[in-house]
């Protein structure tokens, strides 16, 4: 609870700091606020998890771990953002406060215990993002992305809300615990409840961006400023997944014969569409967008094969994915600054110019592809293990094929860094600011540490 209040106040405080033109104080204040939030979250760890405020929010271990993850990832992204935002616009304070508000929404989604909170959380998260995506006001791509995201987001919200309304109509409650008893005890579950499940599923699938509803992802990820893309593909995606997981694992498990086929279809389409489209891309950023679609598909494995290990496997996978994405997008910022394009070719010869950066990006790519000794491998392994336990053999085979496709396009980046020479002799190596160095090293190290010693993460849940 303290975390929510802190973030709310922090956002407003940042707006005031911006008002008084104290630009240098912005980043320290924001980071300090995040640290305080983190403190509140960690201190809640030992407490018994009870639904607070008439069952509106619950800070159990699931919510806490993922909130901590979200806060940490946001912190990393904010560390990178200082000069990046200064470059693209003058209203830096608003960026910080919008990101903080969006984080607040993400935490609400992590910790919701009532559909009203889920809805408000998702809305806060997305409304802030609609604006952040369109933050480069003079850039047509950014405007287009923002508008598309807004329209799609409005549609998905509509689906979600209609679904929630139908579920309420059937059960007469918004509360997850009450819904749980309704589903568990009721032999006569009303048909509108099923319609509600489907619509909520649609709405949430929009938000996490899986296949039949993924059309906004590439354009939006492409048009948004790179750091916002990084934020969207990590924090927002993680939070939406937890919303998904909490609803399905706490409430809808008894009805799994109803929604499992739907979700299976969604996953298979997602994997193929995501991976095959990623294969076709020539732009690194679009490749990352499609790969995020396919990663969303992998993360859905945990929901299809729901069980005791679902939460921890999503945690591992999401952490691995978030760390690797941050590294990838940071590298893209640096490379783009140098070459001015985000095609694969701009990575050519990076190993010669800057061996260290190339090495870090390689670690990230290997992690995304799921090569052993990186965090991504552990994440994929746990996901596949889940599915194996439920004997979805066909799904497993398809997933393995897709993982193989994935290796190809991730390694393309590595190949162009190490084995291709630069087209024109640019000469000078690209300078890397210290904060970028810190974030990159931290993320790469964590990736390897989790890859070698995954128990530190799995043991949490």
């Amino acid at each position: 609870m303290g975390a929510i209040i802190t973030l709310g106040i922090l956002g407003i405080l940042i707006l005031y700091v911006g008002l008084y033109k104290a630009k240098n104080a912005l980043l320290p204040v924001t980071l300090l606020g995040l640290v305080v939030t983190l403190g509140f979250l960690v201190s809640d760890w030992q407490k018994e998890a009870l639904p607070l405020y008439n069952g509106m929010v619950i800070f159990d271990h699931l919510a806490l771990t993922f909130s901590i993850l979200c806060v940490l990832v946001t912190g990393l992204i904010l560390l990178l953002s200082k000069e990046y935002f200064n470059r693209i616009s003058s209203n830096v304070a608003e960026y910080y406060s919008l990101i903080i508000f969006s984080l607040l929404g993400a935490i609400l989604v992590n910790a919701y215990h009532n559909f009203a909170m889920l809805f408000i959380g998702i809305e806060i998260m997305s409304v802030a993002l609609y604006i952040l995506v369109g933050i480069r006001k003079n850039d047509l791509a950014s405007n287009e992305a923002s508008l598309k995201y807004f329209l799609m987001g409005a549609f998905s919200t509509g689906f979600l809300l209609f679904g929630i309304a139908l579920m309420y109509g059937a059960s007469g409650t918004f509360d997850l615990a009450a819904l749980q008893t309704y589903v568990a005890t009721g032999t006569d579950i009303s048909p509108i409840f099923y319609a509600g499940i489907l619509l909520v599923l649609c709405g949430l699938c929009f938000k996490v961006g899986v296949a039949p509803f993924h059309f906004w992802t590439p354009d939006v990820y492409d048009g948004a400023p790179i750091l916002i893309t990084a934020y969207m593909s990590t924090v927002v995606k993680i939070a939406s997944f937890i919303g998904f997981l909490r609803l399905f694992s706490e409430v809808l498990v008894p009805l799994d014969s109803f929604w499992t086929p739907v979700l299976l279809t969604v996953i298979i389409i997602t994997l193929f569409v995501g991976n095959i489209s990623a294969l076709m891309q020539s732009s690194f950023k679009r490749m990352m967008a499609y790969s995020s679609v396919s990663h969303a598909g992998y993360m859905l494995f945990a929901i299809v094969a729901i069980g005791a290990t679902s939460a921890s496997s999503i945690l591992t996978y999401a952490t691995a994915y978030a760390l690797a994405s941050i590294v990838a997008f940071t590298a893209l910022i640096l490379v783009k600054r140098k070459t001015g394009s985000d095609l694969f070719e701009s990575f050519n010869g990076l190993a010669k110019r800057n061996p260290w950066l190339a090495a870090v990006v390689t670690v990230a790519m290997l992690s995304l592809a799921g090569i052993p000794l990186t965090a991504g491998f552990i994440g994929k392994f746990m996901m596949f293990n889940n599915v194996m336990g439920n004997y979805h053999v066909v799904l497993l085979v398809l997933a393995a094929i897709n993982a193989a496709i994935g290796v190809y396009y991730y390694l393309r980046v590595v190949v162009s860094m190490y084995f291709k020479t630069e087209n024109e002799n640019a000469g000078s190596d690209l300078p890397i600011p210290t904060n970028y160095k810190i974030v990159l090293t931290l993320a790469a190290l964590l990736t390897i540490i989790i890859g070698v010693y995954p128990d530190c993460l799995i043991g949490l849940l």
Partner: protein, 149 residues
């Protein structure tokens, strides 16, 4: 009438009538709050917005996007499927829900306030954050025009 009128402005005006009858329904169902909100927000604000947008867009025959028949048919089939599914779900419902029937005055403003400030206090307060976010965003995005000029 809303759908079949050729003139978009007339169409909007017919929509206002539809909403007005809907409001009367709400009053008949003893739902004051919904009626008032429907009256003010939908008929007042949103319809005026619609009219403004229509006038700004200046729709006419030439600028109308042409849709192929195939798209129309596919759209119709998809829409019908959705309607059939939802109707199928609604059909099995017993029309009188004992929850609603037990609280005849559930739609009064007084009850709404009680619920809003007791049970749903937290979401209510947090929606202020949502509005603040939207406000910051609007100002941020709208400022562009001032700068450019």
């Amino acid at each position: 009438m809303t759908i079949f009128t050729k003139n978009p402005v007339h169409s909007v005006l017919y929509l206002v009538i539809t909403f007005f009858t809907l409001t009367i329904h709400y009053i008949l169902l003893n739902a004051q709050f919904l009626a008032v909100v429907n009256f003010i927000v939908y008929m007042g604000a949103i319809m005026v917005l619609f009219l403004f947008v229509l006038m700004l867009l200046n729709l006419n025959k030439e600028s109308e996007p042409m849709k192929s028949n195939l798209v129309k048919i596919i759209g119709a089939i998809a829409g019908m499927c959705l309607i059939a599914t939802l109707l199928g779900a609604f059909r099995v419902l017993e029309p009188s829900n004992e929850m609603v029937a037990a609280h005849a005055d559930i739609g009064l403003v007084k009850n709404l306030g009680k619920v809003l400030f007791n049970e749903f206090l937290l979401p209510f307060e947090l929606s202020s954050v949502l509005l603040l976010t939207a406000m910051v965003g609007t100002v941020l995005l709208a400022k562009k025009d001032v700068k450019k000029a």
